[in-house]
Amino acid sequence: MRAVTWAIVAMLLPRVLGAIPTRTPRTGGVGDTLSVAIVCHDLESVEVTWGPGSAHHGLSANLSLEFRYGNQVPQPCPHYFLLDSVRAGCVLPMGKGLLEVVLREGGGAKLFSRKKKASAWLRPRPPWNVTLSWVGDTVAVSCPSHSYPGLEYEVQHRDDFDPEWQSTSAPFCNLTVGGLDPGRCYDFRVRATPQDFYYGPEARPSKWTGVASLQGVGPTGSCTGPTLPRTPGTPTPPLALACGLAVALLTLVLLLALLRMRRVKEALLPGVPDPRGSFPGLFEKHHGNFQAWIADSQAAVPTVPEQDKDDDVIRPQTKGVETQEDDDVIAPGSPCLGGGALMSVGGASFLMGDSGYTTL
């Protein structure tokens, strides 16, 4: 009798196992050779992405994906996306019935397969048009609900006194956060979470909305506006702030660099003094011809006293040219000057020779 029972089991077991396959469960990887992630975005499209698992360091060949809903004929992926010129994912349309996804290597060996309702991989988009408003010592949070049921809206808040996020949730995006102090500044953020009893344990929460700061009373300016980002995908306030700070810092660094360059340039290439101030009329009357200017200056010098004649020192008395003190004038016949006349004009001294002059 026992043998007959085991014979029946042996006969029936393969049939039952065939009806309900006992594949080992997968949570994203197949034998650690391929890591696959499936996300159903807002019940509108399904994104399948794959990459090398821990046992492989890279995908050597393009994988091909085919899918079908219910009893449809399997179809190839309508839109692959690439990573380093290798297929890394596929976007599928939403459909009815069980979604079966099969990944093959080069169209041959099956590397991965999953079959479930697409909603099992749901990830909603973050709540949008979220508004926060103070009502006494509570904050009312509201936003438009998603177009499909089975979601829970989770609001988190924190303040400087208690930096840990506190959660409040409700099945509709119309909830109240109580026990708040209107004098404090609170941070708020919201997300939508698929309820596990509705979509199963594999569905994932949406991303958080950007953090919004809100204060009921007290000094203004300590909190920013009470409205969260209006459209999903716009930069979050901390990101915008960080970008602004980065730009300001970069501008400051550039300005400092420019200033530093000017100083360096001044140190390496000092400016040539403009002779215009020391030699009045040099450019205006003589177009920079110094010989002509000197000749003109000599002509303007009054008669030199007798006792100075021996010194051969010309002391121009023209307008704007100041007379040098005797201490500043180097006497002719000085051993280092050799022959020639010494002339002092406007603070500069020259040793005049037969064919030119030397600046001292």
Partner: protein, 136 residues
């Protein structure tokens, strides 16, 4: 030969008399599923999930399949109808499906040895059917 004839007639009558779940209070049954049955299923699965093989597109069809998979033991998992989720499912159907009574089940396979993977797979299928039921 006569025995087979009787068995055939019995099956035809059974099919004709199969409860169709159309008069069930689905709201109450799904509340019970949400409150207790779902948690028991998750606890039994312990994080292990299988591909979903069967689907259903209406609450009536889903309850029919849930009833079938929960209370008809499969080879390799004779204990399934005695699990906590199965007992609560039976209570919910009896209370909120007028005229429902647990039908006579095929017991010939209950002597088979329990295979954990088969029980987990069957439990995963039942969870998938409940999920389809609540979404339909």
């Amino acid at each position: 030969m006569v025995l087979f004839r009787y068995l055939f007639i019995l099956q035809v009558v059974r099919l004709a008399l199969t409860y169709n779940f159309s008069n069930c209070n689905f709201e109450m049954i799904l509340r019970i599923y949400h409150a207790t049955i779902f948690r028991d299923l998750l606890k039994d699965l312990n994080g292990i999930l299988f591909d979903q093989i069967e689907d259903c597109d209406s609450r009536t069809a889903c309850l029919l399949k849930i009833d079938h998979h929960t209370f008809n033991p499969v080879p390799g998992c004779p204990s399934l109808p005695e699990k906590a989720f199965a007992l609560k499912t039976k209570a919910a159907l009896i209370n909120y499906c007028p005229g429902y009574s647990e039908t006579e089940r095929n017991g010939t396979l209950e002597m088979t040895r329990e295979i954990r993977n088969i029980c987990l797979n069957q439990t995963s299928q039942i969870l998938g059917l409940w999920l389809s039921c609540i979404q339909s």
